[in-house]
Amino acid sequence: MTDLTPTCAFGEPTPRTHRIGALTLTEDAGLGLASLALRRDAPAPDLTLPGPGEWAATGDVAVFWTGPGQWMVEYPGGADRDVAADLALRAPGCAVTEQTDGFVCIRITGAPPALEALLERLVNLDPRRCGPGTATRTGVHHLSVFVVRPAGDQLAILGPRSAAQTIWHGLDLAATRQARVA
């Protein structure tokens, strides 16, 4: 193991977390990510690959659709592992790219109505398309992010790691204002 000490996306040694009213925002610094793209004539990978706009947990990983023939594979707790190497074994002949540190992942938990109210303030998406089992790339505060809804009471926003501060600002402010109105 390396003796270098990693920093979280906010430049801090520990993940950021904030409880605001009915919502809790937490940086998931442990999430490993690798992208998968089908190649011509490659055999079908040994993974469940969900359809457009969908997210699905499958065994020890979760997979969401990112584009035609393209998926992102989530490895919970896998940030310190070479998850791309693992995915390459499961998907031989596919294009696999390490993405763990390409994104900051902010998980938001709360009752479904509170999460839906938050989404209203953040993304121009029909809430019917943001139910459990969906993953949608869209814009938040001019940034391109994935809005992932693993379950009714869980939401994850994955955005460019370099813009973590801007994304947190947007989420935290929206949650704070929501708490004041509620």
Binding site: P52, T66, G67, P68, N124, G139, S144
Partner: protein, 93 residues
């Protein structure tokens, strides 16, 4: 505006980046003997129709698909959208 993404349904135009005339799909062969003349037309000449127009939009804050959108430039009515890849290869992959 809303753009009917063929895979993702109606999505707000703010997620997209506009390029222009879908004629850009038909890039001439750069090694052809008449390449200079054909590239002149390809790069510089565009129709600017008042009415139906096929144009390229990139789903930048989305699935990164290039779409061919058929739009009425007079009314902004959008008659349809296809994946540019399908248009180029002559049908759904």
């Amino acid at each position: 505006m809303l753009i009917p993404h063929p895979l993702l349904g109606l999505r707000d135009a703010s997620e997209f980046t506009y390029l222009g005339d879908a004629a850009l799909l038909d890039r001439p062969d750069g090694m052809a003997p008449d390449a200079a003349a054909r590239f002149h037309d390809y790069v510089h000449l565009r129709d600017n129709p008042a009415g139906l127009h096929r144009e390229l939009w990139f789903h930048e804050q989305g699935d990164r698909s290039w779409l061919v959108v058929t739009r009425n430039t007079l009314t902004h009515e959008i008659l349809g959208a296809e994946l540019a890849r399908d248009v180029k290869t002559g049908g759904a992959a």
